[in-house]
Subunit: 474 residues, 2 copies
């Protein structure tokens, strides 16, 4: 079935790509999803990219329980306010009603910090640099595959430090050296990094840092957040230590996460009207080979050449589509839909000419390559496609970044063509709320480091205190 | 704190090793655990060993939801009987009581097969060869870290096939080529494979295949199971397909799993009175280097030599313990407790003599090695220690495998020295139950393929129909 055009029905296009490319489907319990093999293979490669960097920056993986005594949630006031409405609660187990209900983690600050109270006595016990990969449950009102599901998979880092300087540096290192680097280098997602405004902060955070991408429908996607939590959780859970000066101090905290939502980000950043386009470093299949033949003799020759080519391609992730009973054109469409970066076609004519036909998914170009040069060409092209997808996305983002001169232009640009709108903001919640109410746009980020600002608030005209970047977001 | 001796207090020894080696601890909700960094690093390597083999045999990873509508549990009669008493139930979410309660998966046959009903129409859609790594919850009455916890981590494979022959071959392939191979090759666990008796089968299985290890306290540990489920689930969930002969057929099923329990198996198979002993292929740290120095001059020289050595060791997983303020003897104890296979000590005397001191964890031997030969010696020794640990465990198991001549000897041997008792069995449930009631021993496995049997049932004296292997098990 043909995909809807992105320009005509972006949500419909997204839904059909997720379905037809075999990435995921809705499951039975409301808002839950089944991640199908191809979607999960993409997630496994995302995990690898982030996990490598999390470990390279000195963090270790752990596993904390799914189920948490309900009373633990109540300790940090902002946190409970933010998450209590979303939690799922276990009231019965082992055939009996539980004396105390358990909640399913929507995020794990509560149980990490209740446990850290046992682990931290002295400054010598710090820092704690731990991360876990797990599932979390948040009761979403309007679920959407990958972007917002009742259960999702993610990693959540929870670190404890001696000083606020160290904790802030940690939260920023994760944002820049782990998250942005993995997103840009491997996923090919150009992201803007910054701080959240108070209203968009994580419940319980002193400061939330974020990375934001721009999707091809000009909407923003929050792709990862890293929080400086100050002493909010150490005070709520009693994580005290004897400092270097022999005084009792509360630990300083960070937490940070990226989730299966990134799969949605990859789809909506790179995809086109033919389906997915996967950056080679992320693609579970980098090269698909389609052998073409009619007679049995041709079949033997072509499959033999295919086998040699697979061997020569070594570490490249290659799939040979030798399914019988499907026409080459059908196979081409399927692998284009699935976003495989390079397709090689090998038929009798190619063999006779000592060549294979190479098709690029990113731009659709198709040309013969001499057999002897295929490996080198593929290797070069994988690099080139990785770079091209990133650059196209960055160019799109830059072309959709505007500095409206007044609130009218702000509203016009937001409607058409949409994108990131950079504008002065007085710092007042009421102006932020008014923009949201009137346009659905929110402040996606403020500069990572507060900067001196000139000019006026785009809404009220009073002097601006921040340069805010607004967008309509997922 | 000194560990209890294995021979005097094996459960106490286990508990202290888990604690002191930093593997895990109990968490707040009853029966749940926190897997700490070192314990999780071991689990990550176990995952790698099994996941590589699961993928190499043609399976793909997926992810199915944690929460399942309660009514789905009721479809397969034996399955509900087995699992309903253990499930945890979510009754409230998003601040409201749910119209229909959800249960947390204790295993995922229900949701996989409810979903497979949508995915399978024709024999062309088969086989489905899927696996997931996830958490499951079973309300355990007597939890024990790693061995039996309310929540545990595992992989569960769920496959659908055209014929029973194919499904049985799948269940056996997983047992032999995936589970046994990973357990023996990487974890160094010698395992016996076989069939379960009817009373020990998975709830809903036609046949349960298993691998069983023998721990150093002479108790057996079920280390992995692979089930042939016949058409029980396809009939319960309506997974029908149009066969090659155009007739409507029900799919044939398997499921199979190994869990974090394997960490417990590794501890209890290889550990000794000094703590863990990790097989090199599994060990997160294969070599620990302890630099020894007093003066600053010595420090510079020794750390320089250490750095060169780390570089020379290349891909070997090396940890340098250069913590200040701890005596070498303290460090030796700690790394012995943590089971690191090889320790290298480098001090000024070693440097002067052009050597390093090498200590093996498996047998405690300690000897100098010329500096030029260290890399080769380490490489050889890692292989040798891997082999030695396996062989020691296999020898222990063989020395603790008996063929008692009558039920009296059976009971005597079971008490002292304990182990696997191989005996004739009439096949009657009442004899199996009597053994369990009187001795706590259960049938751990029957031969993988039924064999002709001579002799009498060890309990009732009637003709034996099976050669059963009994043991007291975890």
């Amino acid at each position: 079935m043909a995909l809807p055009k992105q320009s005509e029905d972006f949500p419909g296009w997204y839904q059909e790509v997720v379905k037809q490319a075999g990435l995921a489907e809705s499951s039975l319990a409301r808002g839950t999803m089944v991640i199908k093999p191809y979607g999960f293979a993409i997630w496994e490669r995302i995990q690898r990219a982030f996990d490598d960097r999390i470990k390279a920056t000195g963090h270790e993986n752990v596993y904390f329980p799914l189920l948490i005594p309900h009373k633990l949630l109540e300790r940090e006031a902002q946190h409970v306010e933010g998450f209590a409405p979303e939690v799922a609660v276990v009231t019965h187990a082992g055939g009996e009603e539980l004396e105390e209900p358990l909640f399913i983690r929507p995020t794990s600050e509560t149980i990490f910090w209740a446990t850290y109270a046992k682990w931290v006595q002295s400054y010598r016990d710090l820092p704690l640099l731990y991360n876990q990969w797990c599932n979390v449950v948040r009761w979403e009102k309007r679920p959407r595959l990958f972007l917002r599901t009742t259960e999702f998979l993610w990693q959540e880092g929870h670190t404890a430090h001696e000083t606020s300087e160290e904790a802030i540096a940690e939260a920023r290192k994760i944002l820049l050296d782990v998250y942005r680097d993995a997103a840009e280098t491997v996923l090919g997602l150009p992201v803007r990094v910054g701080r959240k405004s108070e209203s968009e902060r994580f419940a319980g955070a002193v400061e939330t840092f974020c990375m934001e991408g721009l999707m091809r429908d000009s909407k923003a996607l929050q792709a990862g957040t890293s929080h400086y939590l100050g002493q909010n959780f150490s005070k709520a859970y009693g994580v005290k230590f004897l400092g270097r000066d022999n005084s009792e101090q509360f630990a300083e905290a960070t937490s940070w996460g990226v989730s299966t939502r990134l799969v949605g980000g990859v789809i909506m950043t790179h995809g086109d009207d033919r389906g997915l386009r996967l950056p080679p470093l992320l693609a579970p299949i980098q090269v698909v080979i389609v052998p073409i033949y009619k007679s049995d003799d041709e079949r033997a020759l072509v499959l033999d050449a295919t086998k040699r080519l697979v061997g020569a391609l070594g570490d490249v992730r290659v799939k040979v589509d030798d399914r019988e009973g499907f026409r080459p054109g059908f196979k081409y469409n399927e692998w284009e839909l699935k976003g495989v970066p390079i397709r090689l076609e090998i038929g009798p004519k190619d063999l006779a000419a000592g060549q294979v036909t190479l098709a690029r998914r990113d731009n659709g170009n198709k040309a013969p390559v001499p057999e002897a040069g295929v490996v080198q060409r593929v290797t070069e092209l994988l690099d080139e496609i990785q770079r091209t997808l990133y650059e196209q996305a960055a160019a799109f983002r830059d072309e959709h970044t505007f500095e409206p001169k007044d609130y009218d232009e702000f509203k016009t640009l937001l409607t058409e063509p949409g994108g990131f709108l950079v504008a002065g903001w007085c710092g007042d919640r009421s102006c932020e709320d008014r923009v949201k109410a009137e346009t659905k746009a929110t402040i996606r980020y403020l500069p990572l480091d507060p900067e001196p600002v000139q000019g006026a608030c785009i809404v009220c005209g009073r002097p601006a205190t921040e340069r805010a970047t607004f967008a309509i977001a997922y």
